[in-house]
């Protein structure tokens, strides 16, 4: 680590000139941030008058203190169009290690996270072996000590994610896991789910469910509807998600345990979450960028839905068709309809949905280049998330501050993570992005080993410029080789 670059003791850093957005404190405007000792020392908006007009009183005071201590802050001037925000918090990522290191490792995954502006990422336990014991949790934690993001561990609900016997949740909680999930598969047994909720309740950690009635979903490979019918692919009905969520919400009501819905994908499920929250149930929910932005038509190479509309508006012409039977658009739960996208966005706007989570699911090329029905489910998400989501901001459908909140304070708050704010004393985890810069998605240049994205070749608007982790710059677009 180059000390002068780092915000270590003796090298405080002042980031100024850009727009500062910290939804945790309803802060949004031109401002400045001071980093010291890996933490936020001060953060404030320009006050508009007086000697501290450009920096605001809090920052001006902090700079004065630093000067008095004989270690003046190094100043970094940022373009006025750029945004400084808390580092993004991802409640749902697959880092694949241990066991599937050809798809991704904790190192490559966290580097990809840094490039996407994510500083806290929660790793799902469907590895090999499954993360269902203290030993596997500690393996991941150890492997993550040198990573470019804070890696938090989600442990399995059931041993081996088999859906039968509960994992040793008490010991796993002591080991520092942040939630429990059998993600990738639902907890099919109502009895097991009930006991998981009961047992986890006093531990204070959420149970995260991949809501899916496996019998209804069967061997489905995409959303059930007109596109699947045209393509001759087995569909999976929206009801498969809603049915399982309805069962779980009844069990939440009975147990009072914290419950989090992974990757909501259908309008009916959003409505159930909305009703549960209205009813005061301890329920939180997330949505992925791809479910907000893409439709089942993408499997047929037909680009419809919010992202396609936004990019068409940007260039003035419709997007060219993609490949038919695009395995990179194969994901679980599947891409749904434009009406579902709209319902998910409405849920995000009214707070029904707490967080945007990537469900970053890297795979090898071999996993994806055969027949559609045989291909693996999943989309690589970290490195395109922000730029894709900004399409909703650019088209006026989503305020930028709401987007930032759904990537920072809202997920942090949902799970009680020490992240997602620029409050003084908080870890100096930051993202700096240019909402306007255009770039073309080239998976070959991803840091992630997973090149599986349906967005390859598309020109997106908005780009992460820098990512800072505990006061250390872990990504700088201006320094990346070849750019």
């Amino acid at each position: 680590m180059a000390e002068s670059e780092n915000g270590q003791r003796g090298a405080a850093i002042l980031l100024r000139g850009a727009r500062v957005i910290d939804p945790a404190r309803a802060m949004d405007g031109p401002g400045a941030v001071v980093i010291s000792d890996g933490r936020i020392l001060a953060c404030g908006l320009a006050s508009g008058f007086g000697a501290d007009a450009l920096l605001g009183p809090d920052v001006t005071r902090a700079l004065g203190r630093l000067a008095a201590e004989g270690r003046p802050a190094r100043e970094v001037d940022l373009p006025a169009g750029w945004v400084v925000a808390p580092g993004f918090v991802d409640l749902h990522a697959h880092l694949r290690e241990p066991g599937f290191e050809a798809k991704e490792t904790i190192q490559t995954g966290s580097r990809a996270a840094a490039r996407g502006g994510f500083t806290t990422i929660c790793a799902m336990p469907n590895t090999h072996p499954v993360i269902d014991s203290r030993a596997t949790v500690e393996f991941v934690q150890r492997a993550a000590t040198e990573a470019d993001a804070h890696v938090r561990v989600i442990a399995a609900i059931s041993k081996g994610e088999q859906g039968a016997e509960l994992s040793e949740m008490g010991e796993l909680a002591e080991a520092g896991v942040v939630a429990f999930s059998d993600d990738g598969r639902p907890v099919s047994s109502g009895k097991v789910m009930r006991h998981a909720l009961e047992y986890a309740a006093p531990l204070g950690l959420p149970i995260v469910e991949h809501c899916q009635d496996e019998e209804l979903v069967g061997a489905g490979v995409m959303h059930e509807g007109a596109a699947a019918t045209r393509l001759g692919l087995k569909g999976w009905p929206a009801a498969g998600e809603v049915v399982m969520l309805a069962r779980d919400l009844e069990l939440v009501r009975a147990t009072g345990a914290r419950y989090h819905v992974a990757h909501l994908s259908v309008a009916g499920a959003v409505e159930l979450v909305r009703a549960a929250k209205r009813d005061g149930q301890p329920v939180t929910a997330e949505v992925t960028p791809h479910h907000l932005l893409l439709t089942d038509d993408w499997v047929a190479g037909e680009r419809t839905g919010p992202l396609a509309e936004a990019l068409a508006a940007l260039t003035g012409e419709p997007l060219p068709d993609g490949p038919r039977y695009d395995a990179n658009a194969k994901v679980n739960p599947p891409l749904r309809t434009a009406a579902d996208c709209a319902a998910l966005l409405a849920g995000l706007l009214d707070g029904t949905i707490d967080a945007i989570a990537t469900d970053h699911a890297p795979h090898t090329q071999v996993d994806k280049d055969g027949e559609f029905g045989e291909a693996a489910f999943g989309i690589t998400g970290f490195e395109t998330a922000l730029a894709a989501l900004l399409a909703l901001v650019h088209t006026g459908k989503l305020p930028l501050a709401t987007l930032v909140a759904a990537l920072t304070v809202r997920p942090a708050h949902a799970w009680g993570l020490d992240a997602g704010t620029l409050e003084p004393g908080a870890p100096a985890d930051l993202v700096i992005f240019d909402p306007e810069e255009q770039w073309t998605v080239d998976p070959a240049r991803f840091a992630s080993l997973g090149k599986n994205t349906p967005l390859a070749g598309l020109r997106l608007r908005g780009r992460v410029r820098q990512t800072w982790l505990a006061g250390r710059k872990v990504y700088d677009a201006g320094e990346t080789a070849g750019e």
Partner: protein
């Protein structure tokens, strides 16, 4: 071009009018004129084949490989015969019963066949979209001989040919497809071609065997070339469906459908959806009965209908060779243009 079968055209003209297409994956993008041109060529070839020694050479010097991941002797033989009569060299890979199993990827297999000199790959697969994936990996041409539930374009073309031989233009005709629509690639390809030719297609099946949103799936896709709306009706009541039909195409019912819980019993299916003489009487006089084969006589179709005067099932098979010759000729010509 009018969209009905023309006879008496000069042979060179029917060949020159063939669509400029180098793959045959499905019929969704085909205009009425393209469909008609292919059928016209098939009609010419059918007449010419009456002379048993007659040979054509549009595929001379080309290697056609049939790669069948599902067993289908009739379709494979039909393609091989068509390819030979067009002057091609033919090799066949029975992938379903050979070493080509799950361990060997589709990509690896087709790249190997290409390295062995295959110019045209005729593929049958249980996986919808397999021909699209293959087309991304090889330079040669791809012909879909049936993929999953998605498409079977040469079957739909030979069905169109058979219907036109007896009915002339299909515009305004009512064509009923009866049976397991959900799992049927034949129904799906026929929907593209028949609606493009102006027919009204009525789909009749128990709701558990009907593909979700199928009417909207097709009617929201305008006919290429004309921009007109396709006409598709879903009618689960068989009597209402058959009323006034000009063609009834019965589909094979696989026994697994009952085991999968989609049907109470084969017996009830036959009682409610079997094509019998009495039910056929609801159709227009002279209505054609078609079936893509192989038939389960006594299940989806009564033997008296299967072998009755209205049945054109055998003719479908013989028209299949001429149709596939025309399709392969179309591709051979496109490859020759590419080579120039």
């Amino acid at each position: 071009m009018t969209t009905t079968l023309h006879r008496g055209l000069a042979p060179a003209e029917t060949a020159d009018a063939l669509p400029r297409r180098r793959d045959l994956i499905d019929l969704d993008g085909w205009t009425p004129d393209e469909l008609q041109a292919l059928v016209n060529r098939a009609a010419y070839l059918r007449e010419a084949l009456a002379e048993p020694t007659r040979r054509f050479d549009a595929l001379r010097g080309l290697l056609v490989v049939t790669l069948f991941y599902e067993n289908s002797t009739r379709t494979r033989v039909s393609f091989e015969l068509a390819a030979r009569r067009m002057g091609a060299d033919v090799a066949s890979v029975a992938a379903a019963s050979s070493s080509v199993t799950k361990g060997e990827s589709l990509r690896d297999t087709v790249e190997t066949l290409q390295a062995l000199g295959a110019n045209i790959l005729v593929v049958r697969s249980s996986q919808s979209g397999a021909p699209d994936v293959i087309a991304r990996h090889i330079r040669g041409a791809v012909v879909n001989a049936g993929d999953g539930w998605r498409g079977h374009p040469t079957q739909a073309l030979l069905d169109l040919f058979t219907m036109q031989r007896h009915l002339g233009a299909l515009a305004g005709r009512r064509i009923v497809i009866l049976g397991d629509i959900l799992h049927s690639r034949v129904a799906r390809s026929n929907l593209w071609s028949l609606t493009a030719m102006g027919a009204e297609v009525v789909l009749c099946a128990p709701p558990t065997l009907m593909a979700p949103d199928i009417a909207a799936a097709y009617t929201t896709r305008p006919i290429p070339g004309t921009g007109e709306r396709r006409r598709v009706i879903v009618e689960p009541r068989i009597e209402a469906a058959l009323e006034g039909a000009d063609v009834v195409m019965a589909l094979r019912l696989q026994r697994e459908r009952q085991q999968a819980g989609l049907l109470p019993s084969l017996r009830e299916y036959t009682r409610r959806y079997g094509l019998t003489t009495e039910r056929l009487a609801l159709a227009n006089p002279g209505a054609l009965v078609l079936h893509p084969g192989p038939m389960n006589e006594g299940v989806e179709i009564d033997p008296a209908v299967a072998h009755g005067a209205a049945s054109h099932v055998e003719e479908q098979v013989s028209n299949g060779v001429a149709t596939r010759m025309a399709a392969l000729e179309m591709i051979g010509r496109a490859l020759a243009v590419e080579a120039r």
